[in-house]
Assembly symmetry: C2
Homo-oligomer: 270 residues x 2
């Protein structure tokens, strides 16, 4: 089901700046029994991301109304919300008066193989390097060609995720996930000040680790450090937590921290 | 007038990857008496840009048919063509079978003040710095948030264009234009291997300068070199050639090369 500005519609105006320039932001989350999981965090992030681009974020009540409406229709689904700056005339300058567009849409919950969440996944290192743009780093905006190009590098269905490095060779994230490594029991995640998306599940894992007495360090991770680490965790709102079992010629056994992380995030959900 | 896949429509599917990821490319050109100016160069560039993203470019005849149809309706206008990868399911991987979307739309010809093309324009240096992404550099893709953020830096209507530097402090282009400087009669334009859009009018000016015995050098230009130059020219398919008359506390008198450039491009049009 798709709602465009609250109306059941399958289309958006061709003159919307979301199409013209990727001038907008989005969120993806799980809906269960008509309830979007971790809605408050997702709405807060959506609101911060709109601010980063100078887009007026729709009211929480308005958006919650849309979400409730699609939740009645598709109670268990992946929920995606897109907010764009709205329609514009030709040219990069936003019009003096502009009305943000909101799209609320559902998709089937993905059916990942069970071993992804038990023994772990096979990953690869992508050759596409993330460029540095501090003004957009962290924001889940609609300019996602880097992710698309990286994801197009492989078609082997056995490979569940690609790891992205930045222009300086730092490990940053997966094509659709945030990344953590474990070193001697410590949790470390890359700094996202120059590129990457600071996702809600990344934030939730940092917070719930701290609540369990484990502080997460934000630090530079190069490929060698990644390969030496005791566990590599990939997280997002749809997959939850996956451990990497195989990357190039390195293999990892199921670890302890991935199990803790899964439990912490699940407890918090309840 | 708007044609979407050849049909008179004002909307595109909400699930198009052009909206979701900016997964597409575009062109903007002038239409006169129903004829798009420099169509062959524009189509060639559109086709190259599609290739850069692995998008199947629509056939020239198909697109020319759309353009002829809107040209009957709006014979003198700005013509914009958007090609996206097409509709997709959730996720960055393009579907195995995907049909590119083509949008052909018109807008009124802009009504710039006459002095823009005689005494020149007032410009500013933007503080937004272009990030480096060699895989996307040169391509006129739909990921244009950097241009949007740069254009949002000023609202003074006296300022007609903002100059963009890259992460290394090199002068690259304007928010909507390519840039040339003149030094002792020589024409120099920035290298676009790491960022910026390699526009059709830039290419035409380089070629017509060469045809008139003036080779254009592609070279690094820093702010100091820009300020020391004898003329600064901004070009695109809509504005043609503007000279910068004022930038910060530097002023330029109308130069010789801007007049030649205008004449060369006009002769070629005829």
């Amino acid at each position: 089901m798709i709602l465009v500005n609250g109306q059941a519609e399958n289309s958006i105006p061709a003159s919307d700046r979301g199409l013209a320039y990727g001038d907008g932001v989005f969120r993806t989350m799980v809906m269960r029994r008509g309830c979007p999981q971790h809605w408050l965090q997702h709405f807060a992030k959506l609101s911060r991301d709109c601010s980063a681009l100078g887009i007026r974020c729709p009211d929480a009540e308005l958006l919650a109304g849309d979400v409730a409406a699609v939740g009645k229709h598709d109670p268990d689904c992946v929920l995606k919300i897109i907010i764009t700056r709205g329609q514009g005339q030709r040219g990069y300058a936003p019009p003096a008066s502009v009305h943000p567009l909101r799209v609320v849409m559902t998709a089937p919950l993905p059916d990942y193989p069970e071993h992804h969440a038990t023994t772990g996944i096979k990953a690869r290192i992508c050759s596409m390097r993330l460029g540095w743009q501090p003004l957009l780093a962290g924001v889940k905006h609609l300019n996602r060609l880097e992710n698309v190009l990286a994801r197009m590098e492989w078609s082997d269905p056995e490979i569940a995720e690609g790891i992205l490095l930045d222009a300086g060779g730092n490990v940053i994230c997966g094509t659709m996930s945030n990344l953590f490594i474990v070193e001697r029991g410590a949790l470390i995640t890359p700094d996202l000040a120059r590129c990457g998306v600071a996702g809600v599940t990344r934030e939730r894992l940092i917070q719930s680790a701290a609540a369990h007495g484990l502080n997460c360090l934000v630090d530079a991770i190069d490929q060698e450090r990644l390969m030496r680490s005791d566990e590599v965790l990939l997280v997002n709102s749809i997959i939850g937590v996956w451990q990497i079992a195989s990357l190039g010629d390195r293999n990892w056994m199921p670890g302890m921290l991935v199990q803790h992380a899964r439990k912490w995030l699940a407890d918090e959900t309840a």
